[in-house]
Symmetry: C2
Subunit: 210 residues, 2 copies
DNA sequence: TAGATTGTTAATCGATTAACAATC
DNA sequence: TAGATTGTTAATCGATTAACAATC
């Protein structure tokens, strides 16, 4: 099985499968058919079977899927069986809100360092982690095994910081800055352009002006 | 021109066109061809022409597109020529961060009311707006013309609150709660499931485990 | 064994890209 | 007019749905 052959559309659906299966598991449901899951998720049975089967035969004819097993398999696909070490860059309102969000840690995403250019907040603690000056980022990354950087800084600084992160060996960037980063293709960037998302909502309210 | 015929994929690209055109306009660029824009945006000229032409002939053969004009047209499509009145529900870390984000207001998205169930923060001001108890939401919506609600509350409360919002006449919900809302089909819901986004990033880091 | 449900192939649908005639 | 570039049709590619044989 070659991951290159997994369509984007399928990958983007995995976290939602994971969420529904987690809820079913917590409700004590042991098995589920593609039909039942489709009804619950408002998708189609055919799509579910097609999607899951790309990763191997998780189901069983005549029975369906074992909820706990499927939940764990998808968790593994999503890399949730391993711990991820993160740094957060930009401890403004949004950065601090994300750093305070405890559920990331529950899924293995642990914020190990927080950096900001504003000296007024250096030393301030956010859940066990002190805010450090940007200058400390390099040595911090050399001494800690950091996978992912969360970028919550203004767009005017984002490109430069992203460049440095790549230089220091980051593997993934979760980008909240309203700018497109250009990084080597082995680096994963996931954009979170909130204002664009709001504009899309606005378009739909608007019916596109027609 | 029937908005029903505009593909989702096209709609989701509009805000990004808008962003690039705004930057070009600010840089004093007067005209641009689909080819130049494609190079800038790392998309394809064919797609740009195809996308834009769905909304009418914004371009001119032999010349290209007028940047300022196209910027304004797309802004109109996105409903940015009108003001939107919003309420924010849930003034936790993320809610407060969004309420403090000034750029939404620049685009015409104005937060008129903030509601939270925690009495300890009632009366607290976030940029001109006081946090009010949830009970005041109904009368507030009756007395103000509110388009959009931002939902930054725990998932355990989101479904119930969404139901009330619909009852009180909301038109769109920007949902940050990690749950799928079911609302009548004329209500627009845009989900912002941040943790799912992070999981997708993690999948890609992981190469899906293969 | 019979019934249920997956895995998987084929058919359809939608989105992207290529090509070129229309026209500024 | 000649050159440039759009608007638009046709071709390709990718994703979803339908159908059914395989099999538990």
């Amino acid at each position: 099985m070659d991951e290159k052959s997994i369509p984007r559309a399928v990958i983007s659906r995995l976290p939602r499968y994971f969420r529904y299966l987690g809820e079913l598991k917590d409700d004590g449901v042991e098995r589920i058919s593609s039909n039942e899951l489709a009804a619950l998720m408002k998708s189609s049975a055919s799509q579910i079977r097609q999607d899951l089967n790309r990763f191997g035969g998780f189901g069983q004819q005549g029975y369906g899927y074992n909820v706990k097993n499927l939940y764990e398999e998808i968790g593994r696909l999503l890399g949730l069986d391993k711990k991820h070490h993160l740094i957060l860059i930009g401890a403004g309102n949004l950065g601090q809100a994300l750093a305070n969000y405890v559920n990331f840690e529950k899924r293995g995403f642990i914020i190990k360092g927080i950096f900001d250019k504003n000296p007024a907040i250096h030393g301030k603690m956010i859940r066990d982690v002190a805010i450090s000056p940007m200058e400390d980022m390099k040595s911090f990354m050399e001494n800690n095994d950091i996978d992912i950087a969360i970028l919550t800084i203004p767009k005017s600084e984002a490109i430069e910081v992203a460049k440095k992160l790549v230089e220091y060996g980051i593997r993934g960037i979760w980008n909240f800055a309203h700018v497109d980063l250009s990084v080597p293709e082995n680096i994963v960037v996931k954009n979170e352009h909130l204002s664009e998302s709001l504009m899309e909502l606005s378009y739909k309210l608007n019916d596109g002006g027609f």
